[in-house]
């Protein structure tokens, strides 16, 4: 029995449907990340799981029990908000203990539980302070403490790192991951940052306009995106998407990528594609991630399928750990991720290579992966 089951969930605000039939399951101890652009409905979905919004149809089950009609405080969940939502007029200890106070837990027990949580999160010296006296990172920990002390079935996080600066964000991200690993709690986490999604999740759900685009493990999402939106959204820099045509010459199928100057690039059909689905002359979109585009020496030795081609370098972006190189092909710009010390200059004509092991093809009409 999964900890969280969402079945055919729909949500309307007036006449506008913001969640259009969501199906997700999450096993115990899993870390589900709901990711997508602004307005895709991820926060709304989280709110329906919490019970802060009512659903229009469908079912939500936590621990096997249908919770559609239950008040948030009865669903055995805890939530950490983007702004942490710490009660400004109460001390840290009172903040953490408020839920227990509402449930009528006697004071001695409350204090014990608060002390235990404070120890886990290392915020014991802060217990008497007010939220206004805490730093951003400290407030985040208090917010997590308030959630932890409830010992819920599911933790809900609503973009908790968005308010932090870049460095702090990375540190807190590691903290959250550590928390997940040590306590083994089930987590549902909302973010618009796909890096957070990739690093934290055991399961990712990509949403767009209220519709689930894909649900899967991070590697599935990354290597086998279900459609062009997922391919483009996840991964930074984004996946390169080039127009190509399928040609069939007897038994041999090829993908031809035309170029303004020079020879078209001829590629064998990538391994991920079911070749039977391709017809001669069909238009396809060829997708390949920047790290799979390199110069011929640096390309992965173990790659099973490599194609070389020449191109002129447009822009070189040294980024410290890598160098991003933008080249032109098929009328679009192609980004390659190369070694930091790559000897490459603007205007240079260079031999690049595609590692086709990870390449994918999409149907331009349906935008789905073939």
């Amino acid at each position: 029995m999964a900890t969280l089951e969402i079945a055919a969930l729909r949500k309307r605000f007036g006449t506008i449907e913001v969640l259009k039939g969501i199906d997700i399951t999450l096993e115990k101890g899993g870390f589900l990340v709901l990711v997508g652009p602004s307005g895709c409905g991820k926060s709304t979905l989280l709110n329906t799981i919490a019970g802060l919004e009512q659903i229009s149809s469908g079912e939500i089950r936590i621990g096997g029990d249908v919770v559609n009609h239950l008040h948030p405080s009865k669903r055995d969940i805890a939530m950490v908000f983007q702004s942490y939502a710490l009660y400004p007029n109460m001390s840290v200890a009172e903040n953490i203990g408020f839920g227990m106070e509402m449930r009528g837990v006697p004071r001695a027990e409350r204090d014990k539980a608060v002390a235990a949580v404070a120890k886990t999160l290392q915020i014991e010296p802060l217990l008497a302070r007010r939220p206004s006296q805490l730093s951003g990172g400290q407030r985040q920990r208090v917010a997590m403490g308030r959630a932890l002390v409830r010992r819920p079935s599911i933790f809900l996080f609503d973009e908790p790192l968005s308010n932090l600066d870049a460095k702090l964000r990375v540190d807190m991200r590691v903290e959250i991951k550590r928390l997940h690993q040590t306590t083994g709690t089930t987590i549902v986490y909302v973010t618009h940052d796909q890096i957070e999604a990739m690093t934290l999740a055991t399961k990712i759900a990509v949403l767009k306009n209220g519709e689930l685009q894909q649900v899967g493990s991070p590697s599935e999402i990354y290597d086998r995106p279900a459609n062009m939106f997922v391919a483009d959204f996840m991964g930074s820099p984004a996946m390169n998407l080039l127009e190509g045509t399928v040609t069939q010459n007897g038994d041999v199928q090829r993908v031809v990528i035309a170029r303004k100057e020079g020879e078209p690039i001829l590629l064998p059909v990538p391994a991920s594609v079911d070749a039977g689905k391709l017809n001669d002359g069909a238009k396809v979109i060829f997708g390949i991630r920047p790290e799979a585009v390199n110069d011929s020496e640096s390309i992965d030795r173990n790659a099973k399928s490599v194609v070389k081609f020449d191109a002129t370098v447009e822009i070189v972006e040294p980024a410290g750990s890598d160098t991003f190189v933008v080249i032109h092909a098929a009328g679009k710009e192609l980004t390659a991720r190369m070694r930091a010390d790559a000897d490459i200059r603007r205007g240079q004509n260079h031999t690049f290579a595609f590692n086709l092991d990870k390449a994918v093809l999409f149907d331009p009409q349906t935008t789905s992966r073939i």
Partner: protein, 315 residues
């Protein structure tokens, strides 16, 4: 940078950024206006400290030559107010106090609850409800006093009947209670407006967190919203206190005679001339009438201004 920086950047002889002549003009005008604003109050105070012959015989701007506090004592205890037997304004002052305190507290509390509901528990049509309550702030009271008089009269008769029946009138027909009812009802628009605008910007996530923690409707109000509402609470109380204390129309219509509030008594005192007009006593009475609101203003002027702005300029 402010608009003032432009003037200060103007060329010519500099002194603090402005030319000397400009600064003289500016300070001069400001000082002149300050004088004009203060003079009536100063004259009032001085007149109240003079014996009557000095007032009628002398110059109103002159300092008191025979300083006396008798007019104040007279105003408090002795002065004849209209045709009433009661002498002095102290009774009426007390009437106002008895009426203002409950009216302010009840209307403020109701306003807070209303603001809470309108912003944190939205329902369909909440904008219309708010708009209707808002409009109620601005009606001319003349358009409701006739029906109100009828209703209060009816309540009074019911009170008399109840008193005959049970020995207690349940407060119906009591002028002070009537005024409290009236002021609460017609103050609801403003208090709701103040709290609604304030709670609008109150973080919703705090309410959500409290809900998840299991707090009920009233617990959220009591434990989360109210403790963080001090500024608007003060603003509302000051605004209501000033308006209700200074009210005249309702007081004169619904609480005439011995039960009248301070403003009505003052008007009767000053404007019913039976024989010699005792200007000094009148002025003393006026200052006593103005004292509470002036005191509030001196102590908490900042909040006073905020209240005015909230009532008029939205956003």
């Amino acid at each position: 940078m402010s608009a003032a920086d432009l003037v200060t950047s103007a060329p010519a002889r500099r002194h603090n950024g402005h030319s000397l002549t400009t600064r003289i003009v500016i300070y001069g005008m400001l000082g002149l206006f300050a004088f004009v604003y203060l003079v009536p109050l100063v004259v009032m105070v001085m007149t109240s400290l003079k014996p009557l012959d000095e007032v009628t015989g002398g110059n109103m701007f002159a300092l008191p030559q025979h300083l006396t506090f008798t007019p104040w004592a007279d105003a408090w205890d002795q002065a004849r107010i209209g045709v009433s037997e009661t002498r002095g304004i102290h009774g009426y002052f007390l009437n106002s106090v008895k009426m203002v305190i409950p009216a302010v507290l009840i209307s403020t509390l109701l306003g807070a609850l209303n603001g809470y509901v309108l912003t944190k528990w939205r329902f369909r049509g909440h904008k219309l409800v708010f708009g209707m309550m808002l409009f109620a702030c601005f009606i001319p009271f003349q358009s409701v006093i006739i029906p109100m008089a009828v209703i209060l009269g009816a309540l009074g008769r019911i009170g008399v009947d109840l008193a005959d029946l049970t020995g207690w009138s349940f407060g119906l027909g009591n002028a002070t209670i009537n005024l409290v009812i009236v002021h609460v009802i017609y103050g609801l628009g403003f208090t709701t407006l103040f709290f609604r605008n304030y709670y609008e910007t109150f973080p919703n996530e705090l309410v959500k967190a409290a809900m998840i923690d299991g707090a009920s409707f009233f617990q959220i109000f009591r434990r989360i919203l109210l403790p963080n509402s001090m500024p608007i609470f003060i603003v509302t109380v000051i605004y209501q206190f000033t308006n209700i204390w200074n009210d005249f129309l309702f007081g004169s219509t619904f609480a005439a005679g011995d039960t009248a509030p301070m403003t009505v008594a003052l008007n009767n005192l000053v404007n019913t001339s039976t024989g010699v007009v005792e200007y000094n006593v009148n002025m003393a009475a006026a200052i006593i009438a103005a004292a509470p609101t002036l005191l509030v203003y001196v102590v908490a002027g900042r909040y006073f201004v905020r209240g005015l702005m909230a009532g008029a300029v939205k956003g």
